[in-house]
Subunit: 171 residues, 2 copies
DNA sequence: GGATATTAGTAACATCTGTTACTGATCTCC
DNA sequence: GGAGATCAGTAACAGATGTTACTAATATCC
């Protein structure tokens, strides 16, 4: 963690030419954070077109639904942790899903602070309708890549995820 | 453009095994759209920590500022096109930047519908303060990768960007 | 064993963002 | 040359999201 963020100068890839740091000025179109955000937004919109426009779920509701299917009956906190939602979004998502009849809450026996959340049959059914459509979108996105390219993509994303987490910790 | 999205079945990579489409059920942690959004959000937050927490700009304001530096004096529409902002966000961003003294608007001579936007010295100065910090973050993110890996990442992202655009057009 | 801290969840407010519809300016083309 | 389409930009509303602070339940530890 020897990298300071306050200056642009740090000795990089020693194999390359001396100081030609990627670029000394900022070009949106090739700036990685910008590209990531634009790409994610675009993909996100396509998927929202399904769960939101066609099935009337918000994004947090959709994520909470998926988390519930994956985790089984759990508390709100576990849903939040699994789906990268903060606790307020999670609370709202659960409230929304409950009002639409997709889940039910029951007090946990041993700890009455948290409630155990169960999907209803309707919730299960909704998931079963949406999931294949959404998976088809992912398939479409990846279709152009070979198996090698896909695993490369996976590796690279993993690296970025790790690195982004480190960056976040440094504040 | 022969790919339909409405069904999950399409004959893909003929070299691979018959139908084992990536996964038949959805796992958030490995679901590409989810990973992209989470990663982009994380990176985005780190960068916002600079332009927002430290320099009091909103994200659209920051993007418009960058676009202005890249493009020189232009109209709001050109800023929007260059920075992937819709026209309302752009309008608000420009208003905000103007109020803070970072730009000035003047009526365009030939077409009085649009206004030509000029950065002030303060706006230039602000950019010069923020840009290096933000570029350093990108450098940090990519530091772990070799030159080959970086160009691979670029290639793969380009592919996804293209594919996401196609997907969006299909609605 | 009881004051203090911590935790799960939520209410209430402020802010941001998306949408619709409008104004005024310019273009089109009969 | 003028009615109607189109375009740049914005106002105004609605909905979503982030923040702060609160309640109620449980843990801690002197």
């Amino acid at each position: 963690m020897s990298v300071e963020v306050n200056q642009v100068s740090m000795p990089k890839h020693p194999a390359a030419k001396a100081p030609p740091e990627q670029q000394t000025s900022l070009h949106l179109q090739s700036f990685l954070p910008y590209r990531l955000v634009v790409l994610a937004d675009q993909v996100s919109h396509c998927i929202a077109h399904i769960y939101s426009d066609r099935f009337n779920l918000t994004r947090p509701e959709w994520r909470a639904l998926v988390a519930l299917v994956e985790l089984g009956p759990v508390s709100a906190t576990e849903i939040a942790a699994h789906s990268t939602l903060d606790k307020m979004s999670t609370s709202r998502a659960i409230k929304g899903l409950e009002e639409k009849g997709y889940l039910r809450r029951a007090d946990a026996a041993e700890d009455r602070r948290n409630k155990i959340i169960n999907l209803t049959a309707a919730g299960r059914g909704l998931y079963n309708k949406i999931a294949p459509l959404v998976l088809a979108q992912e398939t479409y996105l990846l279709e152009i890549f070979s198996a090698d390219e896909r695993s490369m993509l996976d590796r690279l994303l993993r690296g970025l995820e790790q690195r982004a987490q480190d960056l976040q910790k440094q504040n």
